[in-house]
Symmetry: C2
Subunit: 197 residues, 2 copies
Amino acid sequence: MQEKVTLRRSNKARSQDTTRKLLDAARSLFVEKGYAETGTPEIVKAAEVTRGALYHHYTDKADLFRAVVTHEAEAIAHEINATALEATDPIDGLISGARGYFTAMQVPGRARLMLVDGPAVLGADGMSEIDRKAGGESLKEGLAAAAAMANKTDLPLDELSVVLSAGFDRAALEITQGGDANRFISSLEVLLRGLMR
Amino acid sequence: MQEKVTLRRSNKARSQDTTRKLLDAARSLFVEKGYAETGTPEIVKAAEVTRGALYHHYTDKADLFRAVVTHEAEAIAHEINATALEATDPIDGLISGARGYFTAMQVPGRARLMLVDGPAVLGADGMSEIDRKAGGESLKEGLAAAAAMANKTDLPLDELSVVLSAGFDRAALEITQGGDANRFISSLEVLLRGLMR
DNA sequence: TTGCATACATACAGCCTGTATGTTAATTCA
DNA sequence: TGAATTAACATACAGGCTGTATGTATGCAA
């Protein structure tokens, strides 16, 4: 006789499995169609779970979105770190970091997720917190190092890093839409070099 | 006997009136609560019209939003032009324009409308078209003038203006959230000056 | 083994969007 | 100037989506 094959799994393993399936499905749908155009019924169908599971693990749709964005931010930080090369010139270091950032942002839909839907759904503050946790401080550190080397002590570093960071983001977005990465990189480099002269 | 007092109005006048009421109500609600959190029933109630009127004049909710954003972009351009002063130094002109932009962006909720919800709902391309029609080319022109005066012929002006424009936007957003306008302005000025040296 | 907590599954209520249809008044045209 | 047409709504409806409430089975701890 065929026994009732209920495969026995720990609660932790079950949770990990379903959250992972939800995260994967949600990510690819959010990336493909955007946040507003993606419904939870569609997500759970793709994830092969029920809405009950979704709302058990996440408080609401935005919470799931936050988890996806957080995961993505970590992946981006990881990719950048993997390609970042040590540079003697701090500005070279910043440019190399920017190159890595642009490359990481080329995975389809990622730029929209992180730079358009993210701020709209989670707010600018919610996003900056996620970025901070995922190590988005590197720009400010690089700027500070460059300023120190150039003996520029009176630069408004906090504001500069905010402004430049927005420029990097915008450049990344433009590049995904066909913009010329090299021209954007040189425009950023000329800004940085001018700053430190 | 009391005659039936149906005040007689032309169709054009009626349309102007209701679209204006819709625009006003939608603007203040979008600004206060954001696009996604504002429903059309709420809008028409505030405007004292019906949803039928709304969907008669606009194809959908996003279309009404587009009209609001367009109107707002024109108001911003107008405010900037009103305060812009002629400068001999093109960089001074850019800075003065930035000051006007930041001031215009301080009206509550406007920054969110134009810089957060706008791109998410209408797309980056939809927004840039609106900006373009409302005269958002002034940055590129100012940059070109400054570059000409400084004999900088090899700058990637298009990319620079895109990157800097993003920086201006981000600065405006930060200022509405308590950031120090003067520090942002000097950070932008030091970027521009360094660029043209 | 017994009781509680976890991890769901199902059902439901409320709201919202867009469309279809009906009605009244303005405008056009013969 | 009267009839036909169109504009400007108003009302009703269908479908879908979100979040919650409730039910159930299984893991886990005492």
